[in-house]
């Protein structure tokens, strides 16, 4: 379990680098994750995706389905992969401070 110091707070990350406590997220934290992912400075389009995903998670308690992300942001899946090369789950959800998405079985 790794930890990182950001904004004077110690944050725990899981073995895939996802934020363990979603309440500690901020835009600074998002940019930190973006740097880890090699995304450079987040653009307005990055923020559009991140804010949609985080808003959905805060409202419903689950990560949005990819079709919903595509519909609400207006970006197709290919473009989302261009913005976040690791993909909507591993890339965008991590930057948005969501817990690691489950899958399999």
């Amino acid at each position: 379990m790794a930890t990182v110091e950001l904004e004077g707070k110690t944050m725990e990350l899981d073995e895939d680098g996802f934020l363990q406590n979603p309440d500690l997220w901020s835009e600074t934290v998002a940019q930190y994750f973006a740097d880890q992912e090699g995304l450079g400075q987040l653009t307005d389009e990055h923020w559009k995706v991140v804010k949609m995903i985080r808003g959905y998670y805060l409202q419903f308690g689950v990560a949005p389905m990819i079709r919903k992300v595509v519909k609400d942001t207006g970006f197709d899946l290919k473009y989302i992969y261009q913005l976040f090369p690791s993909g909507p789950a591993k890339g965008a959800c991590k930057v948005a401070g969501l817990p690691k998405p489950t899958g399999c079985v």
Partner: protein, 350 residues
């Protein structure tokens, strides 16, 4: 496209199979562990089958030795069967004896064809899987050792397929085996609040097949002990739902399953022993029960009668009596209880 989808068949099929693809006439089993397929062209393809350790898990040393045998006897081709047996396909019939000696030299049993004990299928069990109620590969090993001789010679009325599932998800296909061992949990999952707080709680609630899980504010869930059927579904979306308890976990024994169309056709196996404890490393209670059931079947079944078909002929009462197993009304599966089961489940309404 490189790296995507199935590798090209042409590169991986032995030449004799490729030449006669879709044009096979018949097959024989000249001796245990040897198959002979005859094509329309007249060509005969000989296959030698050897049993493998559970999940075909071998050391790199053994893997290299097997690869050497494939190079020497089968033109560099080898395959694993659906039950994880090793097969060398397209062997020169004049060299079959030599190959069998070499396989035995590696400690591998040659057999598992015809009316024999077949290689045991197993899931990965608690070595790798968070759902498992048992060490499925170890149970497979214990049973395979118990019935080892029956892999080598045709003593049985029909083929015998034994499969081990670590849990009711049946990745180990216990429910469609002649004899299946199914890992079962008998207690509720433990809810670890700090872990559940990091999970997607709506998923945990919705995945439960009996609706036994409710949110517990601020950020956890609770499990209704009256509705929970200890099925492991909630452990999938969240590692804070911890199923698995060394004191209450164990295995159940099911019999009569099969996938094939012979006899009465495909069937799920039925519960005959509701619980046996996990007794590592050799699970003696399980091997004893399996031996009991096998011997009764060997004595009573007709030629080519799989366990399920044999039981269908003699009746379940007779089976329990002959096998010396206690019977209870909770083991009945006449689908009489199905409407009640269905209404307890949340997956559909009518």
């Amino acid at each position: 496209m490189p790296g995507v989808g199935l590798p090209p068949l042409e590169r991986n099929l032995p030449p004799i199979v490729l030449r006669n693809y879709g044009k096979w006439l018949d097959h024989e089993e000249p001796r245990p562990g040897v198959l002979k397929h005859v094509a329309e062209s007249g060509e005969a393809c000989y296959t030698v089958r050897a049993g493998m350790p559970t999940n075909a898990r071998v050391s790199t040393t053994l893997a290299r030795k097997i690869a050497d045998l494939a190079d020497d006897f089968a033109g560099g081709h080898l395959r694993l069967t659906r039950r994880h047996s090793l097969e060398l396909v397209g062997v020169d019939p004049a060299r079959i004896d030599e190959l069998i000696e070499r396989l035995r030299g590696l400690g591998l049993p040659v057999g598992g064809t015809g009316r024999t004990f077949r290689n045991t299928v197993s899931c990965t069990g608690w070595i790798h899987c968070q759902f498992a109620a048992t060490d499925a590969p170890a149970v497979a090993k214990a049973i395979s050792d118990e019935l080892y001789e029956d892999f080598l010679t045709e003593r049985y009325p029909a083929k015998l397929k034994i499969s081990i599932s670590g849990c009711v998800n049946q990745c180990g296909e216990g429910s469609t085996a002649d004899i299946g061992i199914v890992g079962i949990h008998r207690d509720l999952p433990r809810v670890i609040d700090e872990e559940v707080a990091r999970c997607e709680i709506p998923l945990i609630v919705s995945v439960c097949p009996t609706g036994a899980i409710r949110p517990k504010p601020p950020k956890s869930v609770q499990v209704d002990p009256e509705r929970c059927i200890h099925c492991v579904a909630c452990a999938a979306p969240c590692q804070g739902m911890q199923i698995g308890d060394p004191d209450t976990d164990g295995v159940a024994v099911v019999v009569g399953g099969k996938a094939g169309n012979s006899g009465n056709g495909p069937a799920f196996a039925k519960f005959v022993i509701p619980y046996l404890p996990n007794s590592p490393p050799r699970w003696p209670e399980v091997t004893r029960a399996v031996r009991q059931i096998v011997e009764v079947w060997v004595k009573g079944a007709r030629r080519d009668e799989r366990i399920g078909d044999w039981i269908a002929r003699i009746g379940w009462d007779k089976f329990f009596e002959k096998a010396g197993l206690p019977m209870s009304d909770k083991l009945l599966d006449g689908y009489v209880l199905w409407p009640m089961s269905a209404r307890t489940g949340v997956r559909f309404h009518w």
